[in-house]
Symmetry: C2
């Protein structure tokens, strides 16, 4: 017998709410989320949401900001890395984006959806209008393919990495594919996409 040595270090109420909010908001989006869903998910009284965070909106903003940092925090450092080659950047983006989304399947849809609903939320992450054009990545593409708008390649690269996750429900319905098979394909893409992008940059 004997008393319990570690008296339940237990996660704080505030953090329980944020955890639940992350889960529900990213799965259902702001509009479809009820504050009661979050309270239930957290196993807490509804009033505690307003006690710790002032409103649904405020709680959402905290979650949204976190998620945006996750999503763009991977991309931006790579795009602006002066020490790596274009090829290396393409490999890094493929690998880290696919790994990130495999670990956070609802992330891309959530981000794209909420930025679409309110492009204003995006401001806190992205400062200047045209900072992307001066990125190392874009300049490296322009060097290799001066005749084509370099944005085309960034868009295609991101599309090949992210879009499969966005269309996953469609894909599953159309192919009968299971989750494990899907994940397997996404792992394959980590090495396929760089090969494809290199081919795209070389052609014509």
């Amino acid at each position: 017998m004997g008393k319990i040595l570690k008296p339940v270090p237990d996660i704080s109420t505030e953090e329980k709410i944020k955890d639940a909010a992350r889960k529900v908001f990213t799965r259902k989006g702001y509009s479809a989320t009820r504050t009661r869903d979050i309270a239930e998910e957290a196993g807490l009284n509804l009033a505690l949401l307003n006690y710790y965070f002032r409103s649904k909106q405020k709680l959402f903003e905290i979650v949204m900001f976190e998620k945006m940092q996750k999503f763009f925090g991977i991309l931006l450092p790579i795009l602006f890395d002066i020490s790596t080659s274009l090829e290396t950047k393409v490999e890094s983006i493929s690998a880290s984006y696919i790994d990130l989304i495999l670990a956070n399947p609802d992330l891309p849809f959530f981000i794209l959806s909420e930025i679409r609903n309110d492009p204003g939320v995006f401001m806190k992450i992205i400062q200047k209008k045209d900072f992307l054009k001066n990125s190392v990545f874009i300049r490296q593409i322009k060097e290799k393919k001066p005749e084509i708008n370099p944005l085309h390649f960034l868009i295609s690269l991101l599309g090949m990495c992210v879009f499969p996750f966005v269309m996953k429900p469609v894909l599953k319905k159309m192919t009968g594919m299971e989750e494990t098979a899907f994940k397997q394909m996404m792992l394959e893409r980590k090495s396929l996409i760089p090969v494809w992008v290199k081919a795209m940059l070389k052609v014509k």
Copy 2:
């Protein structure tokens, strides 16, 4: 003077409601749409929605079904066309998808979003689980690239066509790009994507 010859043929109330519902549902999604938004958009009394269509849900299903037909009605005939080459199919898909979405900018996000919320709505369009695997398109790819899962190429093709529209709000914020410049880029992609896909199928 003289009386009006055509005495306002005017669109029917029922159609006015559907028009408004199409617009509001596709822009905001099911959850964020208020029946009052639709009534206001149509310039009609709220009760008429329930008079002509039984409920918000029923009205939504009609719109959703239409939109799915639009979205998949383009893709499926091409994928199953036995009379065209793989190259032709890739060109058709690029061209017709990009044109379709340029004319209906909210379409892809709406479709992907609502299928994600309720994969059941998809059933009415897609019948068998694995019908895609037996499509001419997939077989043609398998012939040309037996060592890679042919789905990879379909996913990449669709990603390159559709994803730019899904990430448009992000793109605009990050580049300061205007609507006309965006459209211009999408027109360029109609010819770029087939070139890229061919290169992807050839490489390695």
